[in-house]
Symmetry: C2
Subunit: 164 residues, 2 copies
DNA sequence: TGGAAACAGTTGAAGCTTAAACCATATTTC
DNA sequence: GAAATATGGTTTAAGCTTCAACTGTTTCCA
């Protein structure tokens, strides 16, 4: 068997079926995200990421989360989250509070205004998601998609070579 | 039946199964894209969008495309494409040429250097796509996903109200 | 023919994201 | 228990994206 160098020669290219699937996946995804983002933006003045942040906070105990955990939960870098929270703070939807237990840390806390905006945004958003995604799929397809995405979610490799 | 105003009240929220699916979809997608982008970026110095542009050009007759068509094909705004092409031009991977038939227009043309970079990048990229996506799915799942994404791809609504 | 409107594309400024450096506090480790 | 290292988070600058305005065709249509 050939050594697995990084820029290896003999590449297993995608066959026709795989290629078609990959293209559909990329374009469908990008269109959906774009539409949902624009919809939220124009209707509620927040983007998809901001919405995600508000959702995460609203579901956390005390409607608050530590920056790090929040960053992981919405999958953005620490830095980006920090900027994002600064903006949300400026809009009055979130506020920061220093953490007593670990004095390096900060809480991001959903404000009352933030909750109101979130509630309002969520209504329109879920309607959009329905008409753009769920209404076009059968129950069976939803189930299939859930299974597929669950296996694709983790970012680790499927198995380490020679697991100790 | 209630009038379908924009911010309608009685919202059909997602049930548990739908919600789980939606979350998996969002996070899986975002992780995959992030990894592939970073991989291309560090290994070949181009991002996923730039890669997409080079691919599109390489497959077009004469390895050239009009700006507008290219923008549609990789799903970015005219403006963003223009900036992007400017950068790719600076890197020497693409060049512009005025269009004779329609003098408003420009061709974006893949250069020899661009083709070299694309070839090199493609090898690593397809390997990553395989190990991150296809290797984790069964043939059957790939087929299912293709069907699902094909129905989700178009951005028009499923049907107009009272189609005339 | 002569606009009016649409289209292809660019541009510049403002806003957002990323990357790297940085500060302060916790945690290890010897 | 002191130094080394790791962690939580912010900050600054550079790079990228978006938005709106703009130029120069082309098309429409009366």
């Amino acid at each position: 068997m050939a050594p697995m160098a990084a820029g290896d020669e003999d590449v297993r290219w995608l066959d026709a079926e795989e290629q078609a699937m990959w293209r559909h996946l990329l374009t469908a995804e990008s269109r959906i995200e774009e539409e949902l983002d624009r919809d939220l933006q124009t209707r509620n003045g927040i983007g998809l990421v901001e919405f995600g942040i508000l959702v995460a906070l609203s579901e956390a105990p005390g409607m608050r989360m530590r920056m790090r955990m929040l960053a992981d939960s919405v999958i953005v870098s620490k830095s980006r989250l920090s900027h994002q929270i600064t903006r949300l703070e400026r809009s009055g939807y979130v506020r920061r509070e220093p953490c007593e237990e670990d004095r390096r840390g900060f809480w991001a806390i959903l404000t009352d205004d933030g909750l109101v905006v979130l509630r309002e945004a969520a209504k329109g958003h879920v309607a959009r998601v329905r008409e753009r995604v769920f209404d076009r799929l059968t129950r069976e397809q939803v189930r299939q998609l859930a299974g597929i995405m669950r296996t694709l979610e983790p970012d680790e490799a499927p198995a380490g070579p020679a697991g100790h």
